[in-house]
């Protein structure tokens, strides 16, 4: 079965979720582009969007329509050629409308898993629950005569475990998109011990068609992305606890969020990133990864405490940020949750005081000005050169943070998760939009 034939009948599980809807979008567009080739005229293409709620699925169709519109507007130069043979489509507007219709008409929303029983391929982006995933895979396998392939978007569960538990015989691969899949260029591809070579070949071709940057990762829980992110979280929460002698909880969170964003020249502070992903999701990922990491306790009591108080973060269906550890106005943090008072404390109440305690810092370049800047290495080297010799609490916290991030990167290579340091850097650069890779010598 060729690449194009396999893409004639596909299902996405968890299609209404944040990751699933993005995977659905990219797959729908890829399938539509194939279906519009002259040689595929008349062949049916079916993409099942499977999720548990009708309500969520109706939201997904709206999301798809809005996204395909944007994509069509961008590629209308090429689309005019695709539709050159249709004399009724004249204006760009006509062509864009037709393309949206052609993409959307492949998609069949459904709340029934049975829809996947005819698919040659199944993308899975459901809850990070190994037992749930395995049981659904084996159910589909038992009822589907086509021996389908499974592409799991898990960010933490070893693929070999899913393969063995569901009895897939190597017809599975880890294909880990970053959030949001339509925007982030990175995918981590994770082969299980017995992944079939043709499954891997397909995964590479699919990633190439989607113009993704591929980083291979060994099949170790959390892979590279979460391997770094979760440990980065634990460093930040550890520092917050240490700062507890001098700072209130909210003040310490503010300080570490500022260090990790402004002083480390990252697009987002670590606590904002936790909120973005969801406190619950981060905590859950740690619990999934932890059993596979002997000798290391990947577990944050702090996140657990916050969750118990209902602090969750995550996003609304329109993509705007819900309040979590931080409270947001127009997407910007304005207050921080105080577990003792069980309410938010305005950042402006303590900002000046904390900034003063952090002390004078060399002024960092803005992340926006660095990312994509051709001379960024020079810029960063200059800035971190000053950080290296600066005194004061802020400088010290910055150095410790950067060194820890670097050590985590090196650990990912030495513990056999990443193939090399370069792959770790690529993941942070493309999957997390960092301006530089964590494994560097800016401070040494």
């Amino acid at each position: 079965m060729s690449y194009e034939e396999r893409l004639q009948h596909v299902s996405v599980l968890g299609a209404a979720g944040k990751m699933g809807s993005g995977i659905l979008l990219l797959t729908a567009v890829e399938m539509a582009d194939i279906s519009l080739k002259p040689e595929n005229k008349g062949k049916p293409f079916v993409l099942n969007a499977i999720d548990v709620s009708d309500e969520a699925l109706s939201g997904v169709m709206k999301y798809l329509k809005a996204q395909v519109l944007k994509m069509a507007e961008k590629k209308v130069v090429g689309l005019r050629k695709v539709y050159a043979g249709n004399p009724n489509l004249i204006d760009n507007g006509d062509i864009i409308d037709q393309y949206i219709f052609d993409v959307l008409s492949l998609v069949r929303p459904s709340t029934r898993i049975e829809a996947a029983y005819d698919s040659h391929m199944v993308f899975e982006a459901i809850k990070e629950d190994p037992a749930l995933k395995s049981s659904i895979f084996s159910k589909i396998l038992a009822n589907n005569p086509h021996q389908p392939w499974f592409f799991t978007n898990t960010s933490s569960i070893p693929i070999s475990k899913l393969d063995a538990d569901a009895g897939l015989g190597g017809r599975i691969i880890g294909f880990h998109f970053y959030n949001p899949p339509a925007v982030q260029r990175l995918v981590e591809i994770i082969k299980a011990d017995h992944t079939l070579p043709e499954v891997e070949a397909f995964a590479q071709q699919y990633a190439k068609s989607l113009r993704k940057v591929v980083v291979p990762s060994h099949d170790k829980a959390g892979f590279i992305g979460n391997g770094h992110f979760m440990r980065d979280i634990l460093h930040a929460t550890g520092e917050v606890e240490k700062l507890g002698k001098e700072f209130s909880f909210a003040e310490a969170v503010y300080a570490m969020n500022k260090i990790s964003q402004d002083y480390l020249v990252r697009p987002m502070g670590i606590f904002q990133l936790i909120d973005y992903v969801g406190v619950d999701v981060c905590s859950f990922i740690m619990s999934v990864m932890n059993p596979y990491l002997p000798g290391e306790d990947l577990h944050s009591p702090l996140l657990g405490r916050l969750l118990a108080m209902g602090v969750k973060g995550g996003q609304y269906s329109d993509g705007s940020q819900k309040d979590g550890i931080l409270k947001y106005e127009k997407g910007r943090p304005v207050a921080i949750f105080d577990p003792e008072q069980k309410s938010y404390v305005s950042i402006s109440d303590f900002q000046a005081k904390v900034d003063e305690k952090l002390g004078a810092m060399p002024s960092p370049p803005a992340w926006k000005a660095v990312v994509g800047n051709k001379a960024k290495d020079e810029l960063l080297r200059g800035y971190f050169g000053q950080v290296k010799v600066a005194s004061g609490l802020g400088a010290e916290l910055t150095r410790t943070y950067a060194n820890r991030s670097c050590a985590i990167g090196e650990q990912l290579v030495s513990s056999g998760v990443a193939f090399n340091e370069n792959d770790v850097n690529t993941v942070l650069l493309t999957g997390f939009f960092h301006a530089y890779g964590p494994v560097n010598n800016y401070l040494s």
Partner: protein, 405 residues
Amino acid sequence: MVAGYNTLSMGTGRKEFNPKKERPGLEEYIREAGQGTLKMIGGAKHVDECVIGNFMASRFNRQANLAAFFPYVDEGLRYKPAIRVEGACATGGLALMSGIKSVLAETAEVVLVIGFEVQNTVKAIYCADYLAGAGWFKNRKTGHAYFFPGQFSDRAGAYFEKYGRDKTRQALARWFRNAIENARLCPTAQEYHNTVKDLDALGLTEPNGKSFIDNLNVFDCSKVSDGASAIAIVSEEGLKRCGIPLSEAIEVVGWGQIEEDITKPPIDPTELSTTREAVKEALASAGITRDQIGTAEIHDCFTIAGLMCMEAIGFAEKGKGADFILEGHTARSGRVPINTTGGLIGWGHPTGGTGVHQAVTILEQLTGKAGDAQVKIPADRPYGLTVNMGGDDKSLVSIVYKRGS
């Protein structure tokens, strides 16, 4: 002509522009420009007739019957004769011609002319659809997504092939730089806020046919603009009525107004032959030679159109337009300062308003009222020239002016 008024040319580049926020509609632009001119001529009571030029409000704004906006500009225009004129991007020039002919026919002593377009109602990709109406609709299907940029990219490609690419691209980049530098001197210009340091490098950005067109980059193209311009066309009698001295007016001394077959491809893609004929006629009817022109406002909807226009006027020989530009002759300090407030690329291109805007700029320059953008008009070359082009060298209006005396 007297009492020229320009609104801002609004669109990307202006700090005030935010595509996500609601903006003034066409009625606001029409009213601002119309009232601006009325104020200078002593009010609506002095006006005998009105002309409004607009290209495609029927699609951009879903509005027609535009002449009926004059009483909205000023109640004093109620029950006065008015007409709407359309000729794609030459609309403004045609609106002027309509007014000029009324004055010559002595049916009016004072004609109020407004030209406008409000285009930012849609994204550029749909804007391209609407503006494609300036070409033959039967060619739209096979045309480029960005239809007119595609047409002029093809012209540029032919020109590159015939006369060499490198020098031509350098000249186009210089044209862009001149346009932006001039626009920085005119507060109503769309590129007035432009602060880019290395304009040459930007102008030399390599074209990308995959996402746009093969032979031109976005900086080679005029802007998507909202804007309106107004001016009064008056007889000597009308001038007295408005109480304006002759020295504050410019005289229309000649014109060429011609059409070419919209269904035919260009005779030679490396030249603007209709433009050449229109300018020839304008100069002949004015009884002057091109060497007597002190400044010109020409239709640089694309940098390559600007270059070819230099050859069509005869400022440069065929194939020597690039040298003419690179030697600095079109710059504000050069022999013939061209597009002294930025032209279509720098000031903006609210399509139906452009022809009127050109007349306003010439009025300001010849009467010494161009502010920071003022250039010196030599005594032995007192004439101003405009070239306003509709479609791909199809509808042409070229006018020769000199200061009233």
